[in-house]
Structures are given as C-alpha cells and as structure tokens.
Symmetry: C2
Subunit: 350 residues, 2 copies
C-alpha cells in the first residue's frame, strides 16, 4: 500500500505538502503542486480513509440505521439516502437496528464510535430520551419520527391522517362494517395508523367494533393468518383496511383461496410504500407512504445541518399520505344481512 510518505519522498517534498495538494488546502506553488500530482498518479496513491478518520476525528461517512435490510421498502430508503448524500461525496454506512431496544442502541453506538459525520435514524424501539441523549454526541436526523425538542431534525409523516383518508374512502363508498388489520399496537406507528381508522369511524358515527380489528406483524404470512382469524369470528364486514402492503398481500391470499372476490364481495384498501399493491389482482387502492421522498429529504436535511453554508435548507419536513385509487373498492350494494356464522351475507356474495 502506497502511503503519503512514499509520495513525499518521490516528489521531494514533505508529507505536509502532499497533504495540502491532496486536500486542496493551504498555499502551494503550481510547480510543486503539479509535481506532487504527477507522483500521486504515478504511484496510484489514494489516502487511507482510516488514518484520515483518526486524524480528523470524522470519517466522511454518514450512518443510517434501519430495522432490517429485507424488502423493497428499506431498499428504496437506502438508495434514496445514498443519492441524497452523494452530492456531498459522503459515504453511507448502513446498519440494522433489528427489532429490540438493545440492538437499536448498540447499532447507534457503533455508528457513533465509528465517527460518522451524522446519523439518520429509522428507530422504532428506542425511547425519545435516549435518542435525545445520542443527539448530543452527533447530529441525528429522525426519519418518520417526531421529537419536539429535535423538531428541526425530523422528517415526519402524518400516519393518523393518512390512515383516516384511507378509511374515509371506504366509508364514502357506503361501507360501515370495516375490518382493520393493524400492526401490533405496542408499536407507536402502528397505533397512529389504528388511530386514523378509529377517527374516521367516529367522524362518521360508526362505532368501533373490536371484533373487526386484528393485530399482526407487517408480514404476508401473518396477514394471511390475521385475515383467517377475522373471518372465523363470524362478524360480517364489507370492507377491509390493511395497515401495510404485506398485510394486503396476505389478505388477498385468503380471499383467493376462499373464492372471495375483491371488490365484488369485499372492498379493500391498504397502506403502501413500494406499490406492492399494484402487483396484486385487482390492483389494490392505497394511501401512499412516500418513504423514498422522505428518505431523500432526510439525507438533504442531514447535509444541511452538517454544513449550513453550502447546502440549501430542505423545505419539506412533513409529509402526508396521498390516495392512490384502484379498482379494489366499490359501493356497498346493500346492507349486510343480519350477523350470522358467515362473514359474508348472501346478498353480498351474490
């Protein structure tokens, strides 16, 4: 490995001078600059980033923590952050927060000890206090999370309203018995989405029926199970709201299996980020959760906070859901028959 020392020797200058031309800092004669540059090229020298980090106490990389590598959601998220920070020529280091407080904490810890210039967090388990504490050691951007005292560092999405829009859509089509497959409610974001469902119902004076709600992981298989469970309760419903696209996929699996037709028998709407809903048949209506755009803004926002002078301030910190209507919803044809053993009343099935 060729080092700065080799270059210095060959060019008959000091290491300091080489450092100067490499970093374009300080004053160097054109003559020596050229000479050094030539040697650098000859030797194919490239500075050791590790040594650099140690000397600067900064690594020119930004850290990103996500729960998992799996799925298009996180793929888009990573790609967009990368593209955002590319313009500042920063490297991206991604690490998994997995699904526990401890593991999120450890992940962030590592990002910090590794001297990341800044960190973007898609943290699900860590509490506000701990995040605030971390934010005193390094500048942190929160993606899809809001902490008041860190408000200028948050890229947020209004899950409640988005969710509400989705359910409103169903209601506007005459549905009143609307099932909801939600994420586990001990998770904050899942709660928000569920809250939107509740809000929409009460706005329209429809009572919330616990029998129509089921919690599940955001996962196709679990969505399948959840839907089965919903049906087995024998409580009729004419529409379903899935709080994630994977859930919608699992839901459709059941419907296909049982010969339930969407939207003829049941209407369906879902949350969606990566247009998974357009892979299903029929295409499923959804509220779009624009994680890609948000991730890009998160990158830009971090850059902005890292270097106030050169970067423009990102204008968009708060995002909202946009309805993407597709043929998975239709007007309820008639009131469901009286509740019975079957979920679907005869009138609805026909």
């Amino acid at each position: 490995m060729v080092t700065i020392k080799d270059v210095a020797a060959r060019a008959n200058v000091s290491q300091a001078t080489v450092s100067r031309v490499v970093n374009n800092t300080g004053q160097v004669t054109d003559a020596t600059r050229d000479r050094v540059a030539r040697v650098i090229k000859e030797l194919n020298y490239s500075p050791n980033p590790v040594a650099r980090s140690l000397a600067n106490n900064s690594s020119n990389t930004i850290g990103l923590m996500i729960s998992s590598f799996r799925g298009s959601f996180f793929g888009d998220l990573m790609a967009e952050v990368q593209e955002a920070i590319d313009i500042a020529n920063k490297r991206l280091f991604v690490t998994q927060g997995r699904h526990s407080i401890e593991s999120e904490r450890e992940a962030i810890q590592h990002l910090i000890t590794t001297r990341c210039d800044g960190i973007i967090l898609h943290a699900r388990y860590l509490c506000d206090e701990e995040i605030i504490a971390f934010s005193q050691q390094v500048t942190i951007i929160l993606l899809d999370r809001y902490i008041p005292s860190l408000q200028n560092f948050c890229i947020t999405f209004d899950h409640v309203t988005a969710s509400q829009k989705a359910v409103d859509q169903l209601i506007s089509h005459g549905h009143t018995r609307i099932a909801c497959i939600t994420g586990h409610l001990y998770r904050h974001k899942a709660c928000e989405r569920y809250q939107g469902y509740v809000n929409s119902l009460s706005d329209h004076n429809i009572p919330v029926d616990g029998e129509l709600v089921v919690e599940s992981e955001y996962d196709r298989q679990q969505g399948y199970e959840a839907t089965k469970q919903l049906l087995s309760r024998g409580n009729p419903f004419t529409a379903v709201y899935c709080c994630s696209e994977e859930l919608a996929a699992g839901c459709m699996d059941v419907f296909r299996e049982l010969g339930i037709t969407v939207p003829d028998d049941i209407s369906l709407i879902s949350y969606d980020s990566v247009d998974l809903c357009t892979f299903l048949t029929p295409h499923i209506s959804a509220v779009h959760f624009p994680i890609a755009a948000m991730a890009r803004q998160a990158g830009a926002l971090l850059l902005y906070h890292l270097d106030t002078e050169s970067m423009e301030k990102p204008v968009r910190l708060a995002f909202e859901g946009e309805l993407r209507l597709r043929p998975s919803i239709r007007f309820r044809k008639s009131t469901p028959a009286k509740p019975g053993r079957n979920t679907l009343s005869e009138t609805d099935r026909s």
Copy 2:
C-alpha cells in the same frame, strides 16, 4: 470520548495493560484484570474502532458490493450475508457497484482502502482480470460468478441449466412457439439464461426464432414495453419465458390490459428469487434462483477463508435452479393457426 489512556490512568496501569485485558491477549494478573475491567465499566469505555483499524491494518468488517440497494433481491442478499458473518462478530459494510465498470472498480477500491477483512462481490461489469488483481490485495468471494483461478472463492449458480429447465417445462406441455424476454445480452448472466432457452429449444428440435426474442432491462416497465413489442411483431406464440420476475410482472401488466388470460391464452414461466411471482395472479411458475442461500454461503465461505482453523468449510459452492410450478402453464390446446397480424390465433383465444 473516553480513551484507553483515561482508563489506564484511572486504573493505575499502562495503556498496554488495558489493551491486554480488552483484547484478552498476553498475561495479566486476575487482580489487575479485575481492576481494569471495573474501570472500563465505570467509564463506559469502548475502544475506538477507527484507531484499532489503523493499528491493526484491519477493520473487523467485511465489505459487500452489490449493484444497487433497491429491491427485495438485494435486501435478502444483504440480510443473509449479515447473518452469516454475525457469528464471527464482524460488521458489514455495503456499497453499491451501480451499473458501470468504473463505478464497480471505485466501489471495490474503497472497500479495500477501508481495510475490510474480506470482500464479497456481486460484480456484473468488472472483467475477470481486474477481479483477480484485486484478489491479491484482499480475500474476495465471488457471488454468482465463476473465475477458474478463484474457484474456491466462488459461489455459483447454473443459470444455463436453470433456464433450460424452465423452457423444458413449457415444451413438455406441448408449446413450441415460446417467446423469451431476456436481459440485455451484453451482460454475461443474461447470456447464460438466454443460452438455456436456446439449449432447450434445440434439444427438442425447435428452431430459434429471433422474432420471439426481445431484450430488456430487468424491470417491470421495460418488461411491459418488451411484451408489447413482442405482440406487435405479429408472430404467434403460445408461451412466454421471462428471464426475471420483474419482467414477468411487466408481462402480466400487458396481458391484463389486453384481456389475455394466463394460462388459458398463453402460458408463462419466469425466473424468480424473491417469490414475486406469487404476488401475481395467477401465481406464475418459476425457476428459483436461491440468492438468499447463496449469499449466506458466501458469508460462510469468506469467514472460512479468513480463519481456516475455527470455521467449518462450507460444503455448498454450486447451486442450481429448482422448479416451482404454479398455475400459469397449461397444455397447448392446438397448434396455433397460421401466422397473421394477431399474435393469438382464434383457436388459442377461445
């Protein structure tokens, strides 16, 4: 930031001793070990990985290069590699090779200068020679690529045979006019898949008809365009083989739009890694390209090469395609009518 020096001072020992207890190296009295350990806990000291890397000329992280962050394919790939190397407590650094020689080269270069212990490459553009050259600087594992002189470092997949199996399946159902939507043939892997198609046809004495072949990016939109193009040629076919799952999705988009039914009108089979084919309706038959299992093996193989003694040698270096049959294929009902302006003869449509 608390350093080794702080710990040493507080514990009344030298930095060397602290280093010894941290790394469990050399001889240290139980007494002093305990004392140092206690101070470490008190001060919440954790070694600076950057300084460590510089001193050791190694970073305890392994590098992974993939073309892109986007999509479940790469998500699974990353997650599996991570899980594989977790057992050795190594960190993973992922970087995008993007879609050019230069950018792949630069990505690897960075992985090397960053002192990765080893590198896993999913390289698409770089030529063998260059990879071999890199492999002299650091141990490199090739994922889904074979270079004879690096054979013990390659995790391979037999694309030709896999592809052949897929097309065989179509042929065994009586199809002879089989369209093929392939990746761009300047790419090696795309060629292999195409070769499988050709092999299968010639094995069955079916001439290859260039009119039935179209090149495309592995991308839903492009798959859509490609399918349109295929249909516009007016050359009848009764089955389609898509060389990637995204292509199959795009293909189905066209079919849905035009009211072409799978498998009644046309049979379809695809390549697939992430079961995207099971999101489509009907579920599409596919040859499974087990990137997840391969990625995990790549991780294990790297660990093995990095530390021969402690790791077991991964047994599986070569993988092959497994057929996953689903209701997207049916026996050809009759010979297609004479070629005409329409792709689908009346007999086939009915």
